[in-house]
Symmetry: C2
Amino acid sequence: MSTWEDNVRRVVPYVPGEQPKISGIIKLNTNENPYPPSPMVVRKQMELNNLRLYPDDKAAVLVEALADYHKVDSDQVFVGVGSDDVLAMAFMTFFNSDKEILFPDITYSFYDVWAKLLDIPYRQPALDENFRLVKEDYYGENGGIVFPNPNAPTSISEPVSFVEDIVGHNKDVVVIVDEAYVDFGGESALSLTDKYDNLLVVRTFSKSRSMAGLRIGYAIGSKKLIKYMNDVKFSYNSYTMNMPSQILGTESLKDDEYFQETVNKVIETREWFREEILKLGFECPKSSTNFLFMTHNNIAAGEIFEKAKANKIYVRYFNRPRIDNYLRVTIGTREEMEIFLGFLKSLLV
Amino acid sequence: MSTWEDNVRRVVPYVPGEQPKISGIIKLNTNENPYPPSPMVVRKQMELNNLRLYPDDKAAVLVEALADYHKVDSDQVFVGVGSDDVLAMAFMTFFNSDKEILFPDITYSFYDVWAKLLDIPYRQPALDENFRLVKEDYYGENGGIVFPNPNAPTSISEPVSFVEDIVGHNKDVVVIVDEAYVDFGGESALSLTDKYDNLLVVRTFSKSRSMAGLRIGYAIGSKKLIKYMNDVKFSYNSYTMNMPSQILGTESLKDDEYFQETVNKVIETREWFREEILKLGFECPKSSTNFLFMTHNNIAAGEIFEKAKANKIYVRYFNRPRIDNYLRVTIGTREEMEIFLGFLKSLLV
């Protein structure tokens, strides 16, 4: 009996949202953008050649474009294969003390998976009864802090003063703010990165920039933070971002008009749809994201989830404590949301 | 004075080969393929749409295509962002004992970087005076084994019987054979993966398939090995391979004729070029890769490297013990190699 299995790292992996292979569905389950990327991105794709060559290991053109866009130095920008890669690298780089790191009980469900993978101790302070973070929960001694703002799957955002309060109380650890959804109405903490060298702000092209298929994430922080992350990244894989991602990501940043226009369309549809479901008796917090977090007293979320799926409408349901009667519904096009609304009305008659 | 830096993971990163930004150069320094990918790949690129959606987290279409190509089950195939990602995941998954892992003193210089990043103890048995692996060095107790076959930067391959001997002596640890260059003349150990559940064979699309820009690597092994690696992968990043990589990688596998043709052209150019440099007094082992490992008694490798660069010809030079008088020269097109040969002749008159 061989024993190589004794030394395998055993983990319970994260389970991503379903990616159904069938056609003709309304897909509101993984917070993608209903609009395609900028036409400039699509045109640029036709020009991609030189696939035989390695991509630039430093992704310098994309890093420069991000630095220009956010008006920071290029050595304050780290890029990775989606914000998951950026976050995983940040966990590996910064969370190496024996103390517990902190993140909310209801939040992005990859945080505890990374903590387990990397043997990082952690604790999850509970959101309050309105699903809000309680800042005092993050005042004590800890090994680091991470939370999304706006939070997911709650869709609720906190003001930048709230983030500053937490960062100010935690100057001896790294604080990571995951701003995957911030473009849909949150307040960014980017302006604080000048003042606090321990604050890392993480972003993605997968939501507001309609480019989930390309896997582009980035982080902005002090030069120190970014240097440490790059050392770990270059100890892991020199060429993480492929050539299409670097070139097409850069192209997306050039078309701000299209970006604003499609983000605004999602916001308009969200606000209209929220009003409609409130009329149907759903409860649903004000959202600063491209999804809504909704519940109804008369019909179980799990039941809506199953019945919607049978009607080829995919939304997300988490069978977890405190949120097992909620759905997380991505904002699709106006037409898709009208169909979903009609479906909900038919359930409630 | 804040103390967050006390808990940073401090590492010395791998340094990849130079990727010069200037044009008009002959680039023989990072073992890319001089020919573009299959025209089928280039055509398919024009059809890429739906970049707004997440790629398939399981990369199922590419995994199936690889399984068909290699005549294995699809649950014997793991895919990642280049073979570096695959190897890093394998290190993280399998090398968790307190015993030293083993790899040669002269080999791919990322192995010791990963070991340091992940706090894995390691030892590096020396290649013999002809730069060959000594199989007996890998018989003792250890925490795992990894080596490239053909080895880099030596370009020398060992027969499959040699690999089987090492695997057979190490049934209690995982043995990783890195076959990045095998298509250029090595003997693959793929056939052994049926017999040994602890053997992982790693491959890449970056060399023989001319797709370094897309970052596609994969591993083949027993279902057990692949399951453990997937658990770690899904604990790290669900969506690692982006949509272009999955779709265009699959397309490459469909065009075996083009693949064989371009690989053969590289081999022909290599054999011709090697004969020519032997005539010039270079020593150079028989290569089973897309590069040559060459040295000359009368002129220092470092000097050739610098002078070639001044002539816009980039080759690779490693200033390391035992190999500091060698160059690693990627095989380019016949025309490129003729220019390099002319340059070498001009140096030696």
